[in-house]
Protein backbone atom coordinates (compact mmCIF):
# COMPACT_ATOMS: atom_id res chain seq x y z
CA UNK A 1 0.00 0.00 0.00
CA UNK A 2 1.38 3.41 -0.82
CA UNK A 3 1.92 6.22 1.67
CA UNK A 4 -1.21 8.24 0.92
CA UNK A 5 -3.73 5.42 1.17
CA UNK A 6 -2.10 4.48 4.48
CA UNK A 7 -2.65 8.08 5.62
CA UNK A 8 -6.34 7.91 4.75
CA UNK A 9 -6.71 4.58 6.58
CA UNK A 10 -4.87 5.92 9.63
CA UNK A 11 -7.07 9.01 9.78
CA UNK A 12 -10.30 7.02 9.48
CA UNK A 13 -9.40 4.30 11.97
CA UNK A 14 -7.85 6.79 14.39
CA UNK A 15 -10.92 9.00 14.45
CA UNK A 16 -13.16 5.96 14.91
CA UNK A 17 -11.16 4.68 17.87
CA UNK A 18 -11.06 8.14 19.36
CA UNK A 19 -14.82 8.43 19.07
CA UNK A 20 -15.47 5.06 20.80
CA UNK A 21 -13.82 5.96 24.08
CA UNK A 22 -15.23 9.47 24.13
CA UNK A 23 -18.71 8.17 23.39
CA UNK A 24 -18.60 5.70 26.27
CA UNK A 25 -17.23 8.33 28.62
CA UNK A 26 -19.80 10.95 27.70
CA UNK A 27 -22.56 8.35 27.96
CA UNK A 28 -21.58 7.66 31.57
CA UNK A 29 -21.41 11.37 32.31
CA UNK A 30 -24.86 12.06 30.88
CA UNK A 31 -26.26 8.99 32.66
CA UNK A 32 -25.06 10.32 35.99
CA UNK A 33 -26.42 13.79 35.28
CA UNK A 34 -29.84 12.51 34.21
CA UNK A 35 -30.10 10.32 37.30
CA UNK A 36 -29.18 13.29 39.45
CA UNK A 37 -31.82 15.49 37.85
CA UNK A 38 -34.45 12.75 38.14
CA UNK A 39 -33.81 12.45 41.87
CA UNK A 40 -33.50 16.14 42.58
CA UNK A 41 -35.02 18.29 39.82
CA UNK A 42 -34.33 21.54 41.68
CA UNK A 43 -30.56 21.00 41.31
CA UNK A 44 -30.77 20.78 37.51
CA UNK A 45 -29.03 24.14 36.89
CA UNK A 46 -25.91 23.27 38.83
CA UNK A 47 -25.82 19.73 37.45
CA UNK A 48 -26.09 21.09 33.91
CA UNK A 49 -23.12 23.43 34.41
CA UNK A 50 -20.97 20.72 35.97
CA UNK A 51 -21.96 18.23 33.28
CA UNK A 52 -21.05 20.74 30.57
CA UNK A 53 -17.56 21.22 31.99
CA UNK A 54 -17.10 17.47 32.27
CA UNK A 55 -18.39 16.83 28.78
CA UNK A 56 -16.10 19.50 27.37
CA UNK A 57 -13.14 17.90 29.13
CA UNK A 58 -14.03 14.44 27.80
CA UNK A 59 -14.78 15.82 24.37
CA UNK A 60 -11.33 17.33 24.09
CA UNK A 61 -9.97 13.76 23.81
CA UNK A 62 -11.97 13.21 20.63
CA UNK A 63 -10.91 16.66 19.48
CA UNK A 64 -7.24 15.71 19.93
CA UNK A 65 -7.87 12.66 17.75
CA UNK A 66 -9.62 14.88 15.21
CA UNK A 67 -6.71 17.33 15.13
CA UNK A 68 -4.23 14.51 14.63
CA UNK A 69 -6.39 13.12 11.82
CA UNK A 70 -6.60 16.54 10.19
CA UNK A 71 -2.81 16.87 10.43
CA UNK A 72 -2.42 13.43 8.83
CA UNK A 73 -4.84 14.35 6.03
CA UNK A 74 -4.11 18.01 5.28
CA UNK A 75 -0.78 18.98 6.82
CA UNK A 76 1.25 15.78 6.82
CA UNK A 77 4.84 16.59 7.82
CA UNK A 78 6.21 13.52 6.02
CA UNK A 79 4.55 14.26 2.69
CA UNK A 80 7.65 15.71 1.03
CA UNK A 81 9.84 12.81 2.16
CA UNK A 82 7.29 10.30 0.89
CA UNK A 83 7.04 12.07 -2.47
CA UNK A 84 10.84 12.11 -2.81
CA UNK A 85 11.06 8.42 -1.94
CA UNK A 86 8.31 7.62 -4.46
CA UNK A 87 10.19 9.59 -7.13
CA UNK A 88 13.43 7.78 -6.34
CA UNK A 89 11.60 4.44 -6.50
CA UNK A 90 10.08 5.36 -9.87
CA UNK A 91 13.56 5.99 -11.29
Amino acid sequence: MDFFSMCVFAAGIGMGLGAIGTGIGQGFAVKGAVEGVARNPSASGKILTTMMIGLAMIESLAIYALVICLIILFANPYKDIALELAKAAAK
Binding site: T49, I53, L66, V67
Partner: protein, 229 residues
Amino acid sequence: MVHPLLFLEFFRKMLEPLHITGASADAIIYTWLVILLLLALSLIATKSLKTIPSGLQNFMEIVVDTIEKMIVDTMGEHGRRYFPMIATLAIFILVSNLIGLVPGFFPPTANINTTAACALVVFISTHVVGIKEHGFHYVKHFLGPIWWLAPMIFFIEIIGHLSRPVSLTLRLFGNMNGHELVLMVFFALAPFFVPLPMMLMGVLVSFIQAFVFMLLAMIYIQGSLEEAH
Protein backbone atom coordinates in the same frame (compact mmCIF):
# COMPACT_ATOMS: atom_id res chain seq x y z
CA MET B 1 -7.92 23.62 3.53
CA VAL B 2 -9.08 26.92 2.08
CA HIS B 3 -12.68 28.00 2.14
CA PRO B 4 -14.22 27.79 -1.36
CA LEU B 5 -16.57 30.78 -1.18
CA LEU B 6 -16.06 33.93 0.87
CA PHE B 7 -17.30 37.50 0.60
CA LEU B 8 -14.09 39.11 1.79
CA GLU B 9 -11.83 37.00 -0.41
CA PHE B 10 -10.20 40.02 -2.01
CA PHE B 11 -8.34 40.74 1.23
CA ARG B 12 -6.17 37.72 0.53
CA LYS B 13 -4.52 39.74 -2.27
CA MET B 14 -4.03 42.72 0.03
CA LEU B 15 -2.22 40.57 2.60
CA GLU B 16 -0.12 38.81 -0.03
CA PRO B 17 2.94 41.14 0.39
CA LEU B 18 3.06 40.19 4.07
CA HIS B 19 3.48 36.50 3.16
CA ILE B 20 0.18 35.53 4.77
CA THR B 21 -1.44 32.59 3.02
CA GLY B 22 -5.09 32.07 2.17
CA ALA B 23 -6.61 30.56 5.31
CA SER B 24 -4.71 32.82 7.72
CA ALA B 25 -5.66 35.92 5.72
CA ASP B 26 -9.33 34.89 5.93
CA ALA B 27 -9.05 34.44 9.70
CA ILE B 28 -7.41 37.86 10.10
CA ILE B 29 -9.93 39.73 8.03
CA TYR B 30 -12.94 38.04 9.62
CA THR B 31 -11.52 38.72 13.07
CA TRP B 32 -11.42 42.39 12.11
CA LEU B 33 -14.97 42.13 10.82
CA VAL B 34 -16.14 40.66 14.14
CA ILE B 35 -14.27 43.37 16.06
CA LEU B 36 -15.84 46.15 13.96
CA LEU B 37 -19.27 44.53 14.28
CA LEU B 38 -19.08 44.33 18.07
CA LEU B 39 -17.65 47.85 18.29
CA ALA B 40 -20.42 49.32 16.16
CA LEU B 41 -23.07 47.35 18.03
CA SER B 42 -21.91 48.50 21.45
CA LEU B 43 -21.54 52.10 20.25
CA ILE B 44 -25.08 52.11 18.89
CA ALA B 45 -26.44 50.42 22.01
CA THR B 46 -24.82 52.92 24.40
CA LYS B 47 -25.40 56.06 22.30
CA SER B 48 -28.54 57.18 24.11
CA LEU B 49 -28.75 55.44 27.46
CA LYS B 50 -32.15 55.45 29.14
CA THR B 51 -33.26 54.42 32.61
CA ILE B 52 -35.99 52.27 31.11
CA PRO B 53 -34.13 50.49 28.31
CA SER B 54 -35.71 49.51 25.05
CA GLY B 55 -34.62 47.88 21.80
CA LEU B 56 -30.90 47.26 21.38
CA GLN B 57 -29.96 48.61 24.79
CA ASN B 58 -32.36 46.17 26.40
CA PHE B 59 -30.85 43.25 24.51
CA MET B 60 -27.27 44.21 25.34
CA GLU B 61 -28.19 44.67 28.99
CA ILE B 62 -29.62 41.16 29.08
CA VAL B 63 -26.46 39.74 27.51
CA VAL B 64 -24.16 41.57 29.93
CA ASP B 65 -26.41 40.74 32.89
CA THR B 66 -26.44 37.03 32.05
CA ILE B 67 -22.65 36.88 31.82
CA GLU B 68 -22.29 38.82 35.06
CA LYS B 69 -24.64 36.43 36.84
CA MET B 70 -22.64 33.44 35.58
CA ILE B 71 -19.41 35.00 36.82
CA VAL B 72 -20.87 35.73 40.26
CA ASP B 73 -22.29 32.19 40.42
CA THR B 74 -18.97 30.57 39.54
CA MET B 75 -16.38 32.85 41.11
CA GLY B 76 -18.31 34.64 43.85
CA GLU B 77 -18.47 38.39 44.42
CA HIS B 78 -14.73 38.97 44.03
CA GLY B 79 -14.99 37.65 40.47
CA ARG B 80 -16.68 40.87 39.38
CA ARG B 81 -13.27 42.51 38.86
CA TYR B 82 -12.50 40.13 36.00
CA PHE B 83 -15.84 40.68 34.33
CA PRO B 84 -14.54 42.88 31.44
CA MET B 85 -11.94 40.36 30.27
CA ILE B 86 -14.14 37.28 30.57
CA ALA B 87 -17.16 38.95 28.99
CA THR B 88 -15.03 40.26 26.11
CA LEU B 89 -13.64 36.80 25.45
CA ALA B 90 -17.06 35.18 25.70
CA ILE B 91 -18.85 37.62 23.38
CA PHE B 92 -15.99 37.66 20.88
CA ILE B 93 -15.83 33.88 20.72
CA LEU B 94 -19.59 33.49 20.53
CA VAL B 95 -19.95 35.97 17.67
CA SER B 96 -16.96 34.51 15.82
CA ASN B 97 -18.46 31.04 16.16
CA LEU B 98 -21.90 32.12 15.02
CA ILE B 99 -20.68 34.18 12.05
CA GLY B 100 -19.48 30.95 10.43
CA LEU B 101 -23.07 29.79 10.03
CA VAL B 102 -23.79 32.57 7.54
CA PRO B 103 -22.85 31.30 4.08
CA GLY B 104 -19.85 33.18 2.72
CA PHE B 105 -18.44 33.97 6.16
CA PHE B 106 -15.54 32.22 7.82
CA PRO B 107 -15.48 31.71 11.60
CA PRO B 108 -12.17 33.19 12.84
CA THR B 109 -12.15 30.57 15.61
CA ALA B 110 -11.76 27.85 12.97
CA ASN B 111 -8.15 29.02 12.61
CA ILE B 112 -5.72 27.80 15.24
CA ASN B 113 -4.01 31.22 15.54
CA THR B 114 -7.16 32.99 16.78
CA THR B 115 -7.95 30.35 19.40
CA ALA B 116 -4.32 30.19 20.51
CA ALA B 117 -4.37 33.96 21.03
CA CYS B 118 -7.50 33.73 23.19
CA ALA B 119 -6.10 30.81 25.20
CA LEU B 120 -2.78 32.61 25.77
CA VAL B 121 -4.65 35.65 27.08
CA VAL B 122 -6.38 33.40 29.62
CA PHE B 123 -3.14 31.57 30.50
CA ILE B 124 -1.10 34.73 31.09
CA SER B 125 -3.86 36.54 32.94
CA THR B 126 -4.33 33.64 35.39
CA HIS B 127 -0.69 33.87 36.43
CA VAL B 128 -0.71 37.67 36.51
CA VAL B 129 -3.78 37.54 38.76
CA GLY B 130 -2.13 34.92 40.97
CA ILE B 131 1.08 36.91 41.38
CA LYS B 132 -0.86 40.12 42.02
CA GLU B 133 -3.02 38.43 44.62
CA HIS B 134 -0.44 36.38 46.51
CA GLY B 135 2.89 37.94 45.59
CA PHE B 136 5.79 35.53 46.09
CA HIS B 137 3.55 33.06 47.92
CA TYR B 138 1.97 32.18 44.56
CA VAL B 139 4.75 29.57 44.29
CA LYS B 140 2.89 27.57 46.96
CA HIS B 141 0.23 26.80 44.36
CA PHE B 142 2.79 24.68 42.55
CA LEU B 143 4.30 22.88 45.52
CA GLY B 144 1.46 20.75 46.85
CA PRO B 145 0.61 20.02 50.49
CA ILE B 146 3.60 17.80 51.47
CA TRP B 147 7.00 19.48 51.50
CA TRP B 148 9.16 16.46 50.62
CA LEU B 149 7.00 15.71 47.60
CA ALA B 150 7.34 19.31 46.37
CA PRO B 151 10.03 18.75 43.69
CA MET B 152 7.90 16.09 42.00
CA ILE B 153 4.61 17.96 42.38
CA PHE B 154 6.24 21.09 40.96
CA PHE B 155 6.96 19.48 37.59
CA ILE B 156 3.56 17.81 37.45
CA GLU B 157 1.88 21.14 38.20
CA ILE B 158 3.98 22.89 35.54
CA ILE B 159 2.92 20.31 32.95
CA GLY B 160 -0.68 20.62 34.10
CA HIS B 161 -0.57 24.40 33.76
CA LEU B 162 1.07 24.24 30.34
CA SER B 163 -1.55 21.80 29.09
CA ARG B 164 -4.31 24.31 29.86
CA PRO B 165 -3.72 26.69 26.94
CA VAL B 166 -3.11 23.71 24.65
CA SER B 167 -6.42 22.09 25.55
CA LEU B 168 -8.29 25.43 25.40
CA THR B 169 -6.82 26.12 21.96
CA LEU B 170 -7.38 22.70 20.51
CA ARG B 171 -10.91 22.27 21.89
CA LEU B 172 -12.25 25.44 20.32
CA PHE B 173 -10.24 25.06 17.13
CA GLY B 174 -11.12 21.40 16.68
CA ASN B 175 -14.82 21.96 17.24
CA MET B 176 -15.14 24.90 14.90
CA ASN B 177 -12.81 23.54 12.22
CA GLY B 178 -14.46 20.12 12.34
CA HIS B 179 -17.87 21.71 11.99
CA GLU B 180 -16.65 23.83 9.09
CA LEU B 181 -15.18 20.77 7.33
CA VAL B 182 -18.38 18.75 7.81
CA LEU B 183 -20.41 21.62 6.34
CA MET B 184 -18.00 21.88 3.40
CA VAL B 185 -18.25 18.15 2.68
CA PHE B 186 -22.05 18.21 2.94
CA PHE B 187 -22.26 21.21 0.62
CA ALA B 188 -20.08 19.38 -1.89
CA LEU B 189 -22.25 16.23 -1.68
CA ALA B 190 -25.75 17.76 -1.67
CA PRO B 191 -26.04 21.53 -1.36
CA PHE B 192 -29.81 21.54 -0.95
CA PHE B 193 -31.33 21.09 2.56
CA VAL B 194 -28.88 18.34 3.56
CA PRO B 195 -26.47 20.63 5.48
CA LEU B 196 -29.38 22.20 7.37
CA PRO B 197 -29.45 19.77 10.36
CA MET B 198 -25.67 20.11 10.62
CA MET B 199 -26.02 23.90 10.74
CA LEU B 200 -28.62 23.55 13.49
CA MET B 201 -26.10 21.52 15.45
CA GLY B 202 -23.57 24.23 14.66
CA VAL B 203 -25.66 26.76 16.56
CA LEU B 204 -25.62 24.46 19.57
CA VAL B 205 -21.88 23.80 19.28
CA SER B 206 -21.14 27.53 18.95
CA PHE B 207 -23.01 28.39 22.12
CA ILE B 208 -21.63 25.46 24.11
CA GLN B 209 -18.02 26.06 23.09
CA ALA B 210 -18.21 29.78 23.89
CA PHE B 211 -19.80 28.87 27.24
CA VAL B 212 -17.17 26.25 27.99
CA PHE B 213 -14.32 28.60 27.12
CA MET B 214 -15.76 31.26 29.39
CA LEU B 215 -16.37 28.75 32.19
CA LEU B 216 -12.85 27.35 32.02
CA ALA B 217 -11.36 30.85 31.98
CA MET B 218 -13.37 31.65 35.11
CA ILE B 219 -12.33 28.42 36.83
CA TYR B 220 -8.64 28.95 36.04
CA ILE B 221 -8.68 32.52 37.36
CA GLN B 222 -10.63 31.36 40.42
CA GLY B 223 -8.01 28.65 40.97
CA SER B 224 -5.17 31.17 41.12
CA LEU B 225 -7.22 33.51 43.30
CA GLU B 226 -7.82 31.09 46.16
CA GLU B 227 -5.30 30.27 48.86
CA ALA B 228 -2.95 27.36 48.31
CA HIS B 229 -3.71 24.40 50.55
